[in-house]
């Protein structure tokens, strides 16, 4: 299925693998951080509401 990449097979595959990994990584980190901060905001706002 993978086309014959000739003598540069390792390089090309490495580049694709690393690049895709980087993209997946930045998306994952972004989403994770977003979730964490949303939760923290909800907690702080709840405390605020309770303290008032």
């Amino acid at each position: 299925m993978i086309p014959d990449l000739g003598k540069y097979a390792i390089e090309v595959l490495t580049v694709y693998a690393v690049s895709i990994a980087m993209l997946v990584g930045v998306v994952a980190i972004t989403l994770h951080r977003s979730r964490k901060v949303k939760a923290r905001l909800a907690a702080v706002e709840a405390m605020q509401g309770g303290a008032k």
Binding site: P3, Y8, A9, V15, M22, V26, V27, R33, V37
Partner: protein, 241 residues
């Protein structure tokens, strides 16, 4: 600091949140199509062999590295002139994405140069300029991290972004001059515009579109996160006083 200071930040979040899933899934779909097309369904290049397939990752990431900085520049100017917090936070949010793009451009560019240069790194004008851009990104992010007060940080980083942009452009010309001064033959420069046949260009266009969609999704999510962080800080300070 009152609740959500201005209507803007809250409206930003409510407006953009529904857009994000579309952008994100759209990006994944478009990128998937583009990369598959480029990887499986395009021929090799006579001189570069299969490394030409790196083109589909290198070109979009390089374009994004520059475009993200351009967006940061615009956002910085808007902050300095109009004081929209969302603008300043959008610039802050975009920077790490730009760093990733720059690293990817450097990494893919260096390896793509392998068949031509016979080495993993060469001080090619384009790569060198991206290395300098990488340093500018780092400085920008470091400055945001170093300043306590968010408004001051926004001011300082905006000025840095503007001055940095001028010097980045200046450096581009300086580096071109510098490299040519070393009497290296022109064939060593990775000129992506030279003779790019349609068969290579169309999948690249699709990949570029995918990267753009991805950036939009990520920057919207990250800006919303920054807005929430700012609100947390405001609330925590109020609770403390």
């Amino acid at each position: 600091m009152s609740i959500w200071e201005y209507a803007n930040p809250k409206k930003f979040i409510t407006t953009t949140t529904p857009l994000v899933p579309w952008l994100l899934w759209g990006a994944i779909a478009v990128l998937g199509v583009g990369l598959t097309w480029g990887f499986f369904f395009t021929p090799d290049d006579a001189r570069q062999g299969s490394t030409v397939k790196i083109f589909y990752l290198h070109v979009p990431s390089a374009m994004m590295a520059i475009n993200v900085w351009a967006m940061m520049l615009m956002a910085s100017v808007i902050w300095l002139v109009r004081r929209h917090h969302v603008s300043a936070l959008a610039a802050k949010a975009a920077a790490p994405i730009g760093v990733v793009m720059t690293i990817m451009a450097l990494f893919t560019g260096a390896i793509w140069g392998q068949p031509i240069w016979g080495t993993w790194w060469a001080w090619d004008p384009r790569l060198t300029s991206f290395l300098i851009l990488f340093l500018f990104y780092l400085g920008y992010i470091a400055l945001w991290a170093a300043i306590e007060d968010p408004d001051t940080a926004a001011d300082l980083t905006s000025v840095l972004c503007i001055v940095g942009s001028v010097f980045a452009i200046l450096s581009r010309y300086a580096v071109n001059f510098w490299n040519q001064g070393l009497h290296q033959p022109a064939s060593l420069s990775l000129d992506k515009e030279e003779n790019v046949a349609d068969v290579f260009w169309y999948p690249a266009l699709v990949c570029i579109a995918g990267f753009v969609l991805l950036f939009l999704a990520l920057v919207l999510i990250r800006t919303a996160t920054e807005i929430r962080l700012r609100r947390i800080r405001a609330l925590e300070m109020r609770m403390r006083s």
